[in-house]
Symmetry: C2
Subunit: 672 residues, 2 copies
C-alpha cells in the first residue's frame, strides 16, 4: 500500500466521520429523538427554534470535554470513570509514543537502507516500518531506547492511574456505606433438613454463631409455576393496556426481571419484625394470591454493622466449604434474580463448562465464517440465484461484491459474539448483572485479541494457528516477522473499524431506527422505556484492542500512531457524551473493570517487548535484543508489585473503611 | 536386561536389606545408641541381658505395625499422620494396580506378539512391557479398562484420604484451641512514624479499630550488635562448660535460635499488664544488660478470643495492603525468629528471586555434575594421579570405577540438593520453621520429579530437554516412546535407591557415626542434645517420586509394581518406627503436606493418562486412545471438585470451629 492510498483512505474516513458527527449534531436536536440521545437526562432538554435544529454545531463536543470527573462519577458511576481513565491513559501514552516514534524512529526507518526514495505519497508504507532498517544496523539502539522510554512511561502512568482509581474506589466504598447491600450477606448452599425450614435453619445458624451482629434474614423464594402463569397474564394485560395508550408511566427505570421475589428494601435496618417487613415489601405479596412458593437454599441475612457483614462474607463459615457460602449481596438493581435459585454446588461445574465452551467457540469461530464466506463468492452466488447474473456482469459490482462481501459477513458474525459471550456468562451463574457483564467483557476481550490480533498476524488457517500454539518458542518469531508487514492492515483497521464504530456508537443507529419504526410505523405514542446500561463488554475490548495495536506497532511501524491518537481523542469525546446523555447506570461494579484493563495493558507491553526482542534478533543486533531482556523482567516485576500493592483493594474491602463507617452510623442511629 | 538379572539384583538387594534390618535390630539394643534410635523416647528404654542384645529380632517391626493412628498423632503430630496416610494410600492403590496389572496385563504383554518365547529367566524385560503388544492389537482395550479402574480407584481412595485428613485437621484445630498462638496475630509492616514508637502505633491502631477484642501486644525487637557479642560470649562460655562435662542438662528440646527476643508465653492471656508480662518473660531481660534493642516493624498482638484473632488475620486491614499485614502467629517453637525482622515489602521480591533461583538451579544442576563425572573418568584419573595406574590395571576394578563412580558422584551431588533448597526457602523469608520446610519440600519435589523422572525419560543433554520444552505437544509422544524402555531402569532404581534409602533412614548412619565419634573419639560423656525433626522435605519427595513411577509404569510396564509394593510396605514399617522412636516433633504444619501430596498424585495420574493416550496412539488403537480422553477430563473434574470442596479447609480455619472454641473458653474463664 502506498502512502497516498493511505492518506486517501484516511481522508474518506475523516470525511465520513465529520458527516456522521454533523448528522448526529442535527439528529440530537430533533425532539422525537430525545429518548434516543438523552435517555439519561430527559428533563434537561428544551425546545429549540426550527432553524437551529437543522444546523450542525460542534457545541456538544465542547460540552462533552467540559464534564469533570466528579460529574461523570455522580451521573454514570465509577465504572464510567474507569473507562474514561483508560481513555485518558491511552491518549497520554500514545501522545508520548507518537512524538518519540514519529520524530525519532520514522526517519530512521525511512532512511534505513541505501535506496532510491520515491516521492513520499507514492512510497510504500513498508519503507516506514522497521523492515526497512538494514540488518546489523547501528541505529537499532534507538529503537531499543524508545522501547525503554515507552515502557517506562506506560508503567509510570499505569501506576498513577491504578492509584487514582484505587483511591476513587475507596472513596466510593465509603460513600456507599449507607447502601442496604453493604449490611447484607447473601448466604447460599443452606443445607437441607427434614425437620426445619430454610428460614429457621438460617435463623438458628446466625443466632448461634453471629448473635451480636445478626439482625434478620429473608429466604429467597422461587416463583411457582402457577404464579408464573398469573404473572405472565398480568404482564400481557399491562402490555395490552400500554398498547392502547393508557396508563403509560414515564419512568426511566428499566423493567427488572422478577422471577424471584425478595424484599431487599432500603429500610430493612429499622429492626422491624420480619412479618412487618414482608407486609411493607409490595413485591412479595404482589399477586394477592396465596400460591405456594418454592423456598430456595439461599437467603439474605442482614447485619447491624457493615463490618460484621464484611467479616461474615469473608470468613469460611463451616467445615464444608460448599455449605453456608457467604458473600456480600449485590445491590437490588444489580441482582440477577433468575440465577439466585441455582444450587451453589453446581456453580463450579458451570464455570468450567462455560469456560471450555467459550474457548472452543473462540477457536472454531472462524471456521464456519470462512465456509460461509466461501459459499457467498461470486460463482456460487450466480449458480444459486441465476437471476443475479445480469447484475453481476458489470465491472464495478463484482469487485464490490467480492471485495466487501466476505468482510461484511465477518462483521455480521462478529456482531453475534458479544451476545453469545453474554449467554455463556449467564449460564455461568453469576448473581449480579455487573458480574455477568464483567465476565462477558473478559470473554469478548480474549476473543477479540485472539481473533483480530493473533489470527490476522499469524494469518492462515486454523490449523496453522494450532501449529503455532504447539511450538510456543516460534510464536515471537512469527509475530516479529508478521507485525511490520501487517501494520498496514492494522492502520486501515483503525481508520475503518475504529472510527466507524465510534460514529455508530454516537449515532445509536439501532435505537434510532427502532425509535422511528415505533413512532411512525407502529404509531405508539409513548417513548420506549428501554434504556440500556453502557455495554462495557463490547466497548472495553475494542479500546483495549486498539491499545494493543498501538503498543505492538509503536516501535516497529510508527505510522499507525497518529491515526490511533485521533481515534482515542474521538473516543474520549464520544464516550463522555454517551455516559452523560445516553446510558442509564443501573448497576456498577465499583471499578472492577480496571484490573481487566490494567492486565491487558501489561500484557500488551510485555508482548511488544517480546516481539521487539525477536525483531532485534532477526535484525542481528545482539546489543538491542540483549538490553530488551532486562526490560521484560523489570516490567514483570512492576506488574508483580502492583498486584501486591494495589490489586487486593479491588478484591476486598479494607476493615478500616468498614469500621470507620460504623462510626458514621453511630451518629445516625436510624440505621442501627 | 533379562528377568534373571533382575531377580538376581532383587535377591542381592533383599539380602542387603535383611542384613541392614538385622544390624539395626542389634544396634538399637546397644545402650550407647539409645540417643540415636530412641531420641524421641529415652525414658522408655531399659537394660537388656547381654545375649539378647546381640541377637537380631523382628520384634520392632511388629511393634511398629501395632501403633495406632492416635498414638502417632499424639506423639508425632498431624504431619506424621499425613505422611503415614500417604503411605497407606500408596499401598492400597498399588496393591490394586499390582493385582490387575500382573494378572491382567502382564500375560497380554508377554503373549502380545507371535514370537518364540525363551525360558522366562532369560526373557528380556521388554517382552513384559506394552512394547511387545502388536500395533492395532484388539487387546489394547484391556489396558484402557485397567487404566480406568486404576484411575477410578485412585480418585476414590484419594477422596477418602482427603476427607479423613480434613477431619483430622479440624479435630487438630479444635484440640489446639488453647494454644497461645491461636489468640495471637503477627502484624508486619507497621508504618514508621516520627512522633510515636511502633509500640504505641500498634496500641492506638488496635484500640481504635478492634477495641472490643484487643488485649495487648509485644513489639519484636532485633538484638543490637553489642548484645549479639555478649550473647555469643555467653554461648561460648556455655559450650566451654559443656565441654568440661559439667552442668549438662538432658533436655530433649533442641536449641532454638534466639536472634530476636520476644515473649510469646503461654500465660499471656491472663490480662497481666505489659510490664509485668515482660518481667515474667525471661528471654527479654535475659542479658541483664540495658542494651539498646532495635524495634522492628512487627508485633505480636493478642486477642481475647480465637475468633477475633482469626478475623483480624484474614481481613485486609487498611487501604495499603503492604502495611499492617496480619497473619496468625506460628507457635513459639515453630517461629523462625531471624526472618521476623525482614521488612514485609521485601518479601514479594525475595519470593520471586528464590523461585527463579531454584528454577535455574533445577535446570543447570546436571551440567556441572556431568562435567565432573567426565573429569573423573578412568583416563583422566590416571593422568592426574599416576600412582593409581597400578591399581586401575586389573580387570574388575576399572569396571567398578567406571560403573559406579559417575552414579556415586551424582548421588553425592544429590545429597546437596535438600540443603540448597532449604537455603533458598530460608532466603524467601518465611516466619516459621514449618513454612520453611514445606516450601523446601515443594522445591525438592519439583527438582526430584524433573531431574530423576523427566531427565531420565527424555534422557539426553540439557539442550534436548529445552527443545522438548519448546514443543509441548511432542512431550507426551517422547514420554510414550521412552517410558516402556526406561521401565527397566526405574525398576532397578526402586530396588537400589528406594530400598537402600529406607535402610539408611533406619540405620541413621550419620547420627550413628557422629555418636560413635563423640563418645569414643572426643570422649564426651553426655549425649548429644541434637535431635532432629522429621525431614519431610527429603522424604516426602522420595515417596511421591516412587508413586509417580508406579502410576506411569503400571499399565505400560507392570513388572515394577511388586517391587514398588515391597518398598511401600517397608517404608510403612520404617517410617512409623522412626516417627515414634527417633524424631522429635518441634513444629507441625497441621496437615499442610497433604495438599502437596494430593496435587502430586493427581499430576501423576493425569500424566499417566496422557502417556497412555500417546501410547495407544502410537499403537494405532483409536478406540483405546479415544476412550482415554474422557478419563482425563473426568480426573481433572474430580480434582477441581476436591479443590472446591476440601482445599479451603487447608487454607483457613472455619468460623464454626473458632466460635465453638469461644464457648469452650467461657467454661474456663482463666483464659479470657
Amino acid at each position: 500500500m502506498k502512502v497516498g492510498a493511505l492518506l486517501t483512505s484516511a481522508g474518506i474516513n475523516i470525511g465520513l466521520c465529520v458527516l456522521f458527527l454533523s448528522l448526529y449534531s442535527i439528529l440530537r436536536k430533533q425532539p422525537q429523538n430525545v429518548k434516543v440521545y438523552f435517555g439519561r437526562s430527559i428533563s434537561r432538554t428544551h425546545r429549540r427554534p426550527l432553524l437551529e435544529r437543522f444546523v450542525p454545531s460542534p457545541s456538544w463536543i465542547m460540552r462533552s470535554l467540559q464534564y469533570t470527573e466528579d460529574e461523570i462519577l455522580n451521573t454514570a458511576g465509577l465504572d464510567a470513570v474507569v473507562f474514561n481513565r483508560v481513555l485518558v491513559f491511552s491518549i497520554r501514552i500514545f501522545s508520548v509514543a507518537a512524538i518519540l516514534c514519529v520524530f525519532g524512529i520514522l526517519p530512521l526507518n525511512y532512511f534505513g537502507q541505501d535506496m532510491h526514495h520515491v516521492l513520499i505519497p507514492s512510497a510504500s508504507l513498508e519503507t516506514f516500518t522497521i523492515e526497512n532498517v538494514q540488518e546489523r544496523s547501528r541505529w537499532l539502539w534507538v529503537h531499543c531506547v524508545v522501547l525503554y522510554i515507552i515502557s517506562g512511561v506506560a508503567c509510570f502512568l499505569l501506576y498513577l492511574e491504578y492509584k487514582h482509581i484505587a483511591r476513587l474506589r475507596l472513596h466510593h466504598l465509603v460513600q456507599t456505606n449507607d447502601y442496604p447491600s453493604r449490611f447484607t450477606v447473601l448466604v447460599r448452599g443452606i443445607p437441607k433438613s427434614s425437620h426445619e425450614s430454610f428460614s429457621s435453619a438460617v435463623d438458628s445458624f446466625f443466632t448461634k454463631y453471629h448473635a451480636p451482629s445478626y439482625l434478620s434474614h429473608l429466604v429467597v423464594h422461587k416463583v411457582g409455576k402457577l404464579q408464573k402463569i398469573v404473572m405472565g397474564a398480568k404482564k400481557a394485560y399491562r402490555k395490552f393496556r400500554h398498547f392502547k395508550g393508557t396508563d403509560v408511566d414515564q419512568t426511566c427505570r428499566s423493567v427488572t426481571y422478577q422471577c424471584c421475589l425478595c424484599g431487599v428494601s432500603s429500610n430493612s435496618f429499622q429492626l422491624l419484625p420480619i412479618e412487618e417487613q414482608e407486609r411493607e415489601n409490595p413485591s412479595v405479596k404482589d399477586s394477592n394470591l396465596n400460591l405456594p412458593d418454592e423456598e430456595c437454599a439461599s437467603a439474605f441475612v442482614f447485619f447491624k454493622t457493615r463490618y460484621a457483614a464484611l467479616i461474615v462474607s469473608e470468613i469460611l463459615q463451616t467445615s464444608n466449604p460448599m455449605k453456608w457460602v457467604t458473600s456480600l449481596a449485590p445491590e437490588r438493581d444489580d441482582m440477577y434474580w433468575s440465577n439466585l435459585w441455582l444450587p451453589y454446588k453446581q456453580l463450579w461445574i458451570r464455570h468450567i463448562a462455560t469456560l471450555l465452551g467459550s474457548i472452543v467457540f473462540m477457536f472454531i469461530f472462524l471456521a464456519p465464517v470462512t465456509f460461509i464466506q466461501g459459499l457467498s463468492q461470486l460463482e456460487t452466488l450466480q449458480q444459486r440465484f441465476p437471476f443475479l447474473k445480469g447484475i453481476l456482469k458489470g465491472n464495478y459490482i463484482p469487485k464490490l461484491v467480492t471485495g466487501y462481501l466476505p468482510s461484511v459477513i465477518l462483521q455480521i458474525f462478529l456482531y453475534t459474539v458479544p451476545p453469545i459471550m453474554m449467554l455463556f456468562s449467564t449460564l455461568e451463574g453469576p448473581i449480579s448483572h455487573s458480574e455477568r457483564k464483567k465476565s462477558a467483557c473478559c470473554k469478548v476481550l480474549f476473543f477479540t485479541i485472539w481473533n483480530v490480533f493473533f489470527f490476522n498476524v499469524l494469518s492462515g488457517s486454523v490449523i496453522n494457528q494450532l501449529n503455532a500454539l504447539s511450538s510456543p518458542k516460534e510464536i515471537p518469531m512469527q509475530l516479529a516477522k508478521a507485525i511490520p508487514l501487517q501494520a498496514t492492515f492494522f492502520t486501515t483497521y483503525v481508520l475503518t473499524s475504529g472510527w466507524a464504530s465510534l460514529s455508530s456508537e454516537l449515532m445509536q443507529l439501532f435505537a434510532l431506527i427502532w425509535n422511528f419504526v415505533r413512532k411512525y410505523v407502529l404509531r405508539k405514542k409513548g417513548d420506549s422505556d428501554l434504556i440500556f446500561s453502557f455495554p462495557y463488554h463490547t466497548e472495553l475490548p475494542k479500546v483495549m484492542l486498539f491499545g494493543l495495536l498501538g503498543f505492538t506497532c509503536s516501535v516497529l511501524a510508527p505510522l499507525i500512531l497518529p491515526f490511533l491518537l485521533i481515534y482515542f481523542f474521538l473516543a474520549y469525546v464520544v464516550y463522555r457524551n454517551q455516559f452523560i446523555n445516553v446510558y442509564w447506570t443501573r448497576y456498577d461494579t465499583g471499578g472492577l473493570y480496571w484490573p481487566i484493563a490494567y492486565n491487558t495493558t501489561i500484557f500488551s507491553i510485555v508482548l511488544t517487548q517480546i516481539i521487539c526482542l525477536a525483531v532485534f534478533g532477526l535484525k542481528k543486533s545482539p546489543v538491542a535484543s540483549g538490553f530488551t531482556i532486562p526490560l521484560i523482567i523489570l516490567t514483570l516485576l512492576f506488574n508483580q508489585y502492583c498486584r501486591k500493592r494495589l490489586l487486593p483493594l479491588f478484591r476486598t474491602f479494607p476493615a478500616q473503611v468498614s469500621i470507620m463507617s460504623l462510626k458514621v452510623f453511630r451518629i445516625y442511629p436510624l440505621y442501627i
